[in-house]
C-alpha cells in the first residue's frame, strides 16, 4: 500500500506543472504522488531529502486533506502548518511545484498527479514543510514600526468616532488584506540575498499606513523606515511578488508608488 521511496533532492525546483488546469487535470480515484522535502533540524544526523507518498485522488481533495491523510495513514512524523484550512490565516504557504502558494486552498487535481512540495525559502526552517514566518513578520513589523501611529492625545472612546470617506475605508481595506503568508518574500530575489530586506509585504504595510489619515507620520518618517537598500531601493521591481500574492494585493502599483515618493524624498 504505502510506497515510500527516498529520492535525491532536485537541484532546481521544477516549474509549475498544471497550475493552469483550473477545471482539474486529475480524475477522482486515480493515483497521485506527493514528493515532499523532509528535514528535521532537531534530529541529529537528519539531512534534507525528498520523500514520496502515493495516495488516491478523492473528490475535492486539497493539499490540506492530502497531507493530513499522509500523516494519519503513512507517516506520523511529517511536519506542516495548517490553521484555518480556509485560505484565511496565511499559515500554510509552501512551495507547490516550485511556486509559493497557500496549500490549504490548492486542489490536488489542479497540481497533480505529481506534486512537489518544499518549505518556503528565506524563512527559518522548523522542519519539513514548516517555516517560521511568524518570527520574520514580527521582526519586520518591529523594524518598520508597522502599526498605526495615531494622535498622541488618545481619542475619547465615548464620543462619536472620527469620520472617514467610505471609499477611503475600502481602499485601506484593500491594502489591509495581507495575511502575512510570506509568499511574496519567498518569490523575491532581493529577499533571498538580503536578510533584512522588508519584502513586498513590508512595503505594502508602509503604503497602507501612509494612505491612512489616522496615522500622523510624514513622508520623512516613512523615508527613514524604507528609504534604504533594505527597503524600496533594494527592490528590483521584477514583481514576482505581485504574481504570487494569494490575496491579490495591488503590490505592483503600491511598490511603484512608494518608490516614486521615496525617490522624490531622496533627491530633496
Amino acid at each position: 500500500m504505502t510506497t515510500t521511496t527516498i529520492v535525491k533532492a532536485p537541484s532546481t525546483t521544477p516549474a509549475p506543472s498544471a497550475t493552469a488546469a483550473r477545471s482539474g487535470g486529475v480524475a477522482t480515484g486515480t493515483k497521485i504522488r506527493v514528493h515532499a522535502l523532509r528535514y528535521n533540524p532537531q534530529e541529529p544526523g537528519s539531512v534534507p531529502r525528498m520523500q514520496t507518498y502515493e495516495l488516491e485522488q478523492s473528490e475535492g481533495m486539497t493539499l490540506f486533506i492530502a497531507l493530513n491523510e499522509i500523516r494519519e495513514t503513512q507517516d506520523p512524523t511529517l511536519q506542516f502548518d495548517f490553521v484555518c484550512r480556509a485560505g484565511i490565516c496565511g499559515s500554510c504557504a509552501m512551495m507547490v511545484n516550485g511556486r509559493p502558494t497557500l496549500a490549504c486552498r490548492t486542489l490536488t487535481r489542479d497540481v497533480g498527479p505529481d506534486i512537489t512540495l518544499a518549505p518556503l525559502p528565506v524563512f527559518e526552517l522548523i522542519g519539513d514543510l514548516s517555516v517560521n514566518t511568524g518570527k520574520w513578520m514580527r521582526g519586520t513589523s518591529e523594524r518598520l514600526q508597522a502599526w498605526l501611529h495615531g494622535d498622541a492625545k488618545a481619542r475619547d472612546i465615548n464620543r462619536l468616532e472620527e469620520r472617514m470617506e467610505p471609499e477611503l475605508a475600502e481602499q485601506l481595506n484593500e491594502l489591509d488584506r495581507c495575511v502575512e503568508c510570506g509568499c511574496c518574500v519567498a518569490s523575491c530575489g532581493t529577499a533571498r540575498m538580503r536578510p533584512d530586506f522588508v519584502g513586498a509585504v513590508g512595503m505594502a504595510k508602509i503604503a497602507r499606513f501612509r494612505l491612512d489619515p489616522r496615522d500622523k507620520r510624514t513622508d520623512d518618517d516613512y523615508y527613514e523606515l524604507v528609504g534604504t537598500d533594505d527597503g524600496v531601493f533594494g527592490c528590483m521591481s521584477l514583481l514576482a511578488c505581485h504574481d504570487v500574492c494569494p490575496k491579490d494585493l495591488p503590490l505592483q502599483t503600491q511598490i511603484a508608488f512608494l518608490r516614486r515618493k521615496m525617490a522624490g524624498k531622496g533627491w530633496a
Partner: protein
C-alpha cells in the same frame, strides 16, 4: 529546570488575549503571551461577518442603544446569560469599536443618500442620513432588532486582529509563538502559571506569573464537522478542568452555524443572510418563512440550524454524493455586492467548491461553530475558585451568551472582555498581597509530572492509536451530541466516550522523532479532548430540558422551574472518567429582563415560580421612570462592576454629548454617579 517569570501570563494570542495583555501592559505590568501559532493566525482571523455594537449610525439601526442590545442578547441566550455581565458588555462594545477605529481598523463606513438593499427577498431603497456620513456602518444579523453589526467588508476578524496585533507589537509585548500550555501550576487554591511545551524543540519549561489568563478560544474540534480552525481543540478549557479546582460552565451549550459549506464545514458568514441571502430546499423553495414567519432566515442560529435539519429530515434536503444539504442563495444580491461586501465568501466558494456564488447557489449544512461554555469566571474575569486564574473570550464562561450566542457578539466579547478583564488583572497585580511566592519544589513537581506523562506516551509501550480514538470521538460527538439530542443517544455517547478515555491512557506512538513530534501532539491533546467531550456529553445528558442551542427531543420545553441554572463541571481525579457536575442557580428576582418568549422558535416553556412576581415589579419600575438610564439603574444596577474608565455613556447621532471642553475630561463628566 527552565523557569520564565512575568507579571501576567496570557495563554492565547487571539483577540481576547492580545487585548487583555495590552490592558495589563498599559497599567505597568509585564505581560507575556503564549500562542500555538503566530497571534495573527489565531482563529479570530476567521470572523467574517462583524462585531455587534449599538452605534445606531445606519438608518436601519436608528434608535438602537444599550437597552436594545441587552434585550437581544438575553433573549438570544434563552435567559441563560448573566444579565449583569451582558450589561457590562453592551455598554463597552461601542467604546471597543471606537477604540479599534482609532487603532486603524478600516471599518466599512456609511455613505449618505439612497442605496438599494435586499430585505426579505425584495430590493428596497433606503436613505442614509447626512449626519451619519462617514461614520462606522452596521449590517443586519440574526436575532437582532436593529442593524447593529459593524463590519469590515467580510474580513472583520482579520482586520481587528491585524490592528490589535499591531498594537501589541507597538507595546513591545513578547509573544512566545509556537508554544503550548500543557498544565496550570497551582497550589492551595492559587494559580501560579503554567507548564509550557515548545512546539519547535519539544522542550518543557515553567512560566510563573502573578496572574494567569486563559484566552485560548473554542473547542470546535471535538466535532467532526466544524467551522473552527484545526487548532481549536479546547486545550485551554482542558487544563483548567484538570486542575480539579477551576470549573467549566455550561459546556453542553454548543452552537451550530446554519451555513457551513458542504461537506468541508468551512463557514460562509451570517452576513450572507443578513444582507438578504435565502435558504432553499431541493425544490428551490424558500422554506424558512414556513417555520419562522417573523424572523425567517434571520432567527437566531440555534433555531435556523434546527429548522434546516428538520426540513432535511422531512425529505426536502438536496441529495449529493456526500449526503444531503440545503442551498444558500445569494445570487439576488448581485455581482457588485458579492465581490465587494462578501469577497471572502466569493473566494471560499471559488477555491473550495468551484462554485460562482454570483450565478450559482451554495451547498450548506449546519456545522459546529461556537463553544458557549468555558472557564467559569466572576464578572471580573477571575475564577471564583482558583485565585489568580482569569479567562476571557470564547474560552471563558463569563457568561454573556448563556445557551446561544448571537452572531457578531463574539468578536465583540473578545475585545470587550480583554478591556474589562485586563483592568481587573492589572488591579490584581497592583495588590502586594498577590506577589508570587511559590516554592520552586512545587514548580518542579508540576514540570516533572508533565514530562512523565509525555515520556509514558513515547516510551510506555502503549498500543492504542491516538488518531483513531480522536476520529471516533469526533464521530460520536457529531452523531449523538449534535443539534438534536436524545437521552438514549447521549447515554450511549457518554458510555463510549468513557471507554475511549480509558483506552486513551494506553496510547502508544509509532515514531520517536525529536522536536515537536506531531504524533505526540495528537496523543496528549486527544487525552485532554476526551475529558472535554465527556463534560459536554454528560452535561447534555443530565440537562433534561431544551434551552438555546441545547435541544433535547425527549425534553423539548425550556424548563425554568428546574433548569434556570448554570452547569459547573470539575474533574476531581486524574483517574475519573466523568466530571463532577454542580449547578449555580440564576436569580430571577434580580433580572432586568425576566424569562419569557424569545420572539422566535418554540413558544413553549415552564415558568420559574418567581417570574410573574419579578415581571410585575419590573413593569412597575418601568412605569415610574421616563429616563432610560434611571430606569435601567432602578431595575438592575451594574455600573459598579465596570472599571471606572469604562463606565461612561456612549454618544450617538441621536444622543449627542455637549461639545467637549478644550481641556476637560469628557469621560468623567459623563461617568455614572457611583451607586
Amino acid at each position: 529546570m527552565k523557569v520564565v517569570y512575568t507579571d501576567v501570563l496570557v495563554i492565547g494570542g487571539g483577540l481576547a488575549g492580545l487585548r487583555l495583555a495590552i490592558a495589563a501592559k498599559r497599567r505597568g505590568h509585564d505581560a507575556l503571551i503564549l500562542s500555538l501559532v503566530p497571534p495573527k493566525r489565531s482563529h479570530s482571523k476567521a470572523a467574517q461577518g462583524g462585531m455587534q455594537a449599538s452605534l445606531g449610525n445606519v438608518i436601519k439601526g436608528q434608535g438602537d442603544n444599550e437597552d436594545v442590545h441587552f434585550e437581544d442578547t438575553v433573549r438570544g441566550s434563552d435567559w441563560g446569560a448573566d444579565q449583569e455581565v451582558v450589561r457590562m458588555f453592551v455598554n463597552t462594545a461601542p467604546k471597543a469599536v471606537r477604540e479599534l477605529a482609532a487603532w486603524g481598523v478600516p471599518w466599512s463606513r456609511v455613505r449618505r443618500g439612497d442605496r438599494t438593499v435586499v430585505i426579505n427577498g425584495q430590493k428596497v431603497t433606503i436613505t442614509e442620513r447626512d449626519e451619519a456620513h462617514g461614520l462606522v456602518a452596521q449590517r443586519d444579523f440574526g436575532g437582532t432588532k436593529k442593524w447593529r453589526t459593524c463590519y469590515v467588508s467580510d474580513c472583520t476578524g482579520h482586520a481587528m486582529l491585524q490592528a490589535v496585533g499591531d498594537q501589541a507589537i507597538a507595546a513591545s509585548i513578547p509573544v512566545h509563538e509556537r508554544t503550548e500550555a500543557l498544565a496550570l501550576i497551582h497550589d492551595g487554591g492559587r494559580c501560579y502559571g503554567a507548564v509550557v511545551r515548545d512546539l519547535v524543540t519539544g522542550a518543557l519549561s515553567a512560566y510563573v506569573a502573578k496572574a494567569t489568563a486563559i484566552t485560548t478560544g473554542g473547542a470546535g474540534r471535538l466535532y467532526r464537522v466544524t467551522t473552527n480552525a484545526v487548532i481549536c481543540e479546547g486545550i485551554g478549557h482542558a487544563i483548567a478542568l484538570e486542575t480539579g479546582v477551576a470549573a467549566l460552565g455550561n459546556m453542553e451549550a454548543v452552537q451550530f452555524h446554519p451555513t457551513g459549506i458542504f461537506p468541508a464545514g468551512i463557514l460562509v458568514t451570517e452576513g450572507c443572510r443578513g444582507d438578504g441571502g435565502l435558504l432553499k430546499d431541493a425544490d428551490g423553495h424558500r422554506f424558512m418563512p414556513d417555520y419562522e414567519p417573523e424572523k425567517k432566515e434571520l432567527a437566531s442560529r440555534d433555531v435556523v440550524s434546527r429548522r434546516m435539519e428538520e426540513h432535511i429530515a422531512k425529505g426536502k434536503g438536496v441529495k449529493s454524493r456526500f449526503g444531503e444539504h440545503i442551498w444558500l442563495d445569494i445570487t439576488l444580491l448581485g455581482e457588485h455586492h458579492i465581490r465587494h461586501n462578501l469577497r471572502e465568501v466569493f473566494e471560499i466558494c471559488h477555491y473550495f467548491l468551484g462554485v460562482d456564488p454570483v450565478k450559482e447557489m451554495i451547498p450548506v449544512r449546519p456545522a459546529q461553530h461556537y463553544t458557549m461554555g468555558g472557564v467559569r469566571t466572576k464578572p471580573t474575569g477571575e475564577s471564583p475558585t482558583l485565585k489568580g486564574l482569569f479567562s476571557a473570550g470564547e474560552a471563558a464562561c463569563w457568561d454573556m451568551h448563556g445557551f446561544n450566542r448571537l452572531g457578531g457578539n463574539s468578536v465583540a466579547e473578545t475585545v470587550v472582555a480583554g478591556m474589562i478583564v485586563g483592568e481587573y488583572v492589572a488591579d490584581f497585580c497592583d495588590r502586594s498581597e498577590n506577589d508570587v511566592s511559590i516554592p520552586t519544589g512545587v514548580v518542579r513537581g508540576f514540570l516533572e509530572r508533565e514530562q512523565a506523562k509525555l515520556d509514558r506516551l513515547v516510551h510506555g509501550g502503549g498500543t492504542e492509536d491516538a488518531a483513531a480514538i480522536r476520529a471516533r470521538m469526533q464521530e460520536i460527538m457529531t452523531a449523538k451530541v449534535g443539534i438534536f439530542r436524545r437521552g438514549k443517544d447521549l447515554e450511549e455517547a457518554v458510555d463510549e466516550l468513557q471507554k475511549l478515555l480509558v483506552r486513551s491512557r494506553s496510547i502508544g506512538l509509532r515514531s520517536r522523532v525529536p522536536g515537536p513530534n506531531p504524533e505526540l501532539v495528537i496523543a496528549y491533546r486527544t487525552q485532554k479532548m476526551l475529558k472535554l467531550a465527556l463534560t459536554v456529553a454528560y452535561g447534555a445528558l443530565t440537562r433534561t430540558e431544551s434551552r438555546g442551542a441545547h435541544f433535547r427531543e425527549d425534553h423539548p420545553r425550556r424548563n425554568d422551574v428546574q433548569w434556570l441554572k448554570r452547569t459547573l463541571a470539575t474533574w476531581k481525579n486524574e483517574t475519573d472518567t466523568l466530571p463532577a457536575l454542580d449547578y449555580e442557580p440564576l436569580d430571577v428576582r434580580r433580572m432586568e429582563l425576566p424569562p419569557g418568549w424569545r420572539g422566535y422558535g418554540a413558544k413553549d416553556y415552564a415558568d420559574h415560580p418567581d417570574t410573574a412576581a419579578r415581571q410585575a415589579e419590573v413593569d412597575a419600575i418601568k412605569e415610574k421612570h421616563e429616563d432610560r438610564f434611571e430606569r435601567q439603574r432602578a431595575l438592575m444596577p451594574y455600573a459598579h462592576l465596570l472599571p471606572k474608565r469604562l463606565q461612561g455613556r456612549n454618544e450617538r447621532i441621536d444622543e449627542r454629548f455637549p461639545p467637549a471642553e478644550p481641556n476637560g475630561t469628557p469621560e468623567s463628566e459623563f461617568a455614572w454617579e457611583s451607586e
